[in-house]
């Protein structure tokens, strides 16, 4: 759906050049909810704004639905933008227009007939749960309601892609969840491709199918969310993940919990149905070792179970090797936390 190739953006000023994006290449599949996460200043906002050219890239190409966005100008670009919806951190609603008039705005711009505009607005209001707010001005709405208007407005012209520029960053945690649920519903209902940028791993964890981690103007890691969460490669990705799954004890504390000084401590990551398999019982039976549960946590990634279990394994080196083989044969990702003393 979206193909970004070697995208770079350099801001030139008298004080010197500032690199905002460096050689970014990403492919975003139709129907994906693609999260781009990074710290502030990493370049993520610039990246999403390059996709509809609110920001002009220095080099590289962006293909959306096989259309080269970089080659467009004037009217062509404006028409392409009508099929790329966008929502913003601070909503950017028109204060002089009611909710219904705000939703009608992109339709007016696209030149819809009055009758069609009214009809489309009536479809969109219930979709975002604002049937009773049609004639209210944005100043009378809460942050979450404002973002709902933003979403309805972005969807008005039935775009193929929705860009979310820190769409939940100005909202409280509860409202964030309700907005994310709305985005997920829209994604499932209309097969809309969503690109969202955020600095909150929670957002990625709740709704994204794929994630790219951006750090210092470069993509340092990307892939399906499950893959990145279970096997993060970069330090920054690990830090982000520990912000949502902080329930990991440091090695020396685990060592204190262990009953046997020569035992091995392993951490096993679960995903999906494996989280409910009787792994430990089987492990003890098949490998003839003693397993002592030190610590465990279970959570979810989107609608999939995701958890870790920290075990103390006691047995001979041969038995332990067998246990490792047993776990990897079951497709579980295991790491040794601290090996003996």
């Amino acid at each position: 759906m979206i193909k970004i190739e070697h995208l770079s953006k350099t801001y030139t000023s008298r004080k010197g050049d500032v690199i905002a994006l460096e050689d970014i290449s990403l492919e975003i599949a139709q129907g994906a909810i693609y999260g781009i996460i990074g710290l502030s200043g990493a370049g993520k906002s610039t990246l999403v704004r390059c996709l509809n050219r609110l920001e002009e890239p220095t080099s590289g190409t962006v293909l959306i639905d096989n259309q080269d966005i970089m080659k467009l100008s004037g009217k062509g670009l404006r028409q392409a933008r009508q099929s790329i919806g966008m929502i913003f951190q601070h909503f950017h609603l028109l204060q002089s227009r009611t909710v219904a008039e705000n939703i009608a705005f992109p339709l007016e711009i696209a030149g819809y007939k009055k009758k069609d505009i009214a009809k489309r607005v009536q479809e969109l209001l219930p979709l975002v749960g604002l049937e009773d707010k049609a004639d209210v001005y944005p100043s009378q709405l809460s942050g979450g309601q404002k973002q709902r208007v933003g979403i309805a407005r972005a969807l008005a012209t039935q775009p193929k892609v929705l860009l979310c520029d820190e769409a939940t960053s100005a909202l409280d945690p509860q409202t964030t969840v309700s907005i994310l649920n709305l985005l997920r519903d829209i994604n499932q209902q209309f097969g809309l491709t969503i690109v969202l940028i955020t600095h909150e791993m929670k957002v990625i964890k709740e709704i994204c199918t794929d994630v790219a981690v951006i750090d210092a103007s470069r993509i340092v890691e990307y892939g399906p969310v499950e893959q990145v969460f279970i096997q993060p490669q970069s330090t920054i990705a690990k830090e982000f993940i520990s912000s949502v799954f902080p329930n990991e004890l440091p090695g020396d504390l685990l060592r204190e919990l262990a009953t046997h000084p020569d035992s091995e401590i392993v951490r096993i990551h679960f995903l999906g149905s494996r989280a409910s398999d009787p792994i430990i019982a089987d492990l003890m039976k098949d490998c003839d070792i003693r397993a002592n549960i030190l610590y465990g946590s279970i959570d979810h990634l989107r609608s999939t179970l995701f958890g870790t279990l920290t075990l103390e394994l006691q047995g001979s080196p041969e038995q332990l090797t067998k246990a490792h083989a047993y776990l990897s044969a079951r497709g579980l990702k295991m790491e040794v936390v601290q090996n003996g003393i």
């Binding site: 509809n52 609110l54 670009l77 404006r78 028409q79 392409a80 933008r81 009508q82 790329i84 919806g85 966008m86 913003f88 601070h90 950017h92 609603l93 028109l94 204060q95 002089s96 227009r97 705005f105 992109p106 007016e108 711009i109 696209a110 001005y137 944005p138 100043s139 407005r153 012209t157 860009l163």
Partner: protein, 229 residues
């Protein structure tokens, strides 16, 4: 030198006063309304161009912004009384004469239009750029942004600016009166000052205060009504 206030009690004082005042009042209103409207017709597009041609706006153009800004500044820095005199040849070309109420409108417009441009510019700059970017992201053209975003979003501020402009123009018309433009200003000088009619001076001043007060109140009320936040 004292003024004999018993004159107010003489028969026919008020009918006579009305007879003198009403043409002057109409002249003032005529000058103010026509020159404010014309100044807006010229000034609004200039203000819009100043805003959209500025850096980081929808049609950045440093050359246009700087040139227009300089021209506006030149006209704004010339004292109105000087402009009145300097523009006599131009006025004569446009109106056919350089004396009279209609003739005063030419220098009034030329001095008010750059003022309007700056007032409109500052109102339009209050519109957060994020809202304009949102419109850009929907594929709005520059013209659509001006018509559907910039002007409507700034409407309350524009109306307050309109009140300020009208009031300034009233002040200018008094000066224009001094050089043959007529109106309340001329009345105050001719009768009140030159003929020592303190009563006429006072009444014209009171009338001007009332007009200014009225315009400001109407402007404020409209602006409040149109503010949706």
């Amino acid at each position: 030198m004292g003024f004999d206030w018993s004159i107010l009690a003489t028969p026919n004082y008020w009918p006579n006063m009305l007879h003198v005042l009403s043409p002057a009042l109409w002249e003032t209103l005529y000058m103010v309304i026509v020159s404010t409207v014309l100044a807006y017709i010229v000034g609004v597009p200039l203000g819009v161009i100043l805003v959209i041609s500025s850096p980081q706006h929808i049609l950045p153009n440093p050359w246009v912004e700087r040139t227009l800004g300089t021209v506006v500044n030149i006209f704004r820095s010339a004292p109105f009384i000087i402009l009145l005199v300097v523009l006599i040849p131009l006025t004569r070309k446009i109106v056919g004469t350089s004396i009279g109420t209609t003739a005063a409108i030419v220098p009034l417009v030329i001095s008010a239009a750059p003022f309007v441009a700056r007032i409109v510019e500052s109102s339009l700059k209050e519109v957060p750029y994020g809202v304009i970017e949102a419109a850009l992201s929907m594929g709005a053209s520059p013209w659509q942004i001006i018509r559907k975003v910039l002007l409507p979003e700034a409407i309350a501020s524009l109306i307050l600016g309109f009140a300020i402009t009208t009031i300034s123009v009233i002040g200018y018309t008094a000066m224009a009166g001094a050089v043959g433009g007529g109106g309340l200003g001329a009345l105050a000088i001719d009768y009140g000052y030159n003929r020592f009619r303190t009563d006429i001076m006072l009444i014209t001043v009171v009338l001007l205060v009332l007009i200014v007060q009225g315009i400001q109140s109407i402007g404020t009320a409209f602006a409040r009504k149109l503010t949706n936040h």
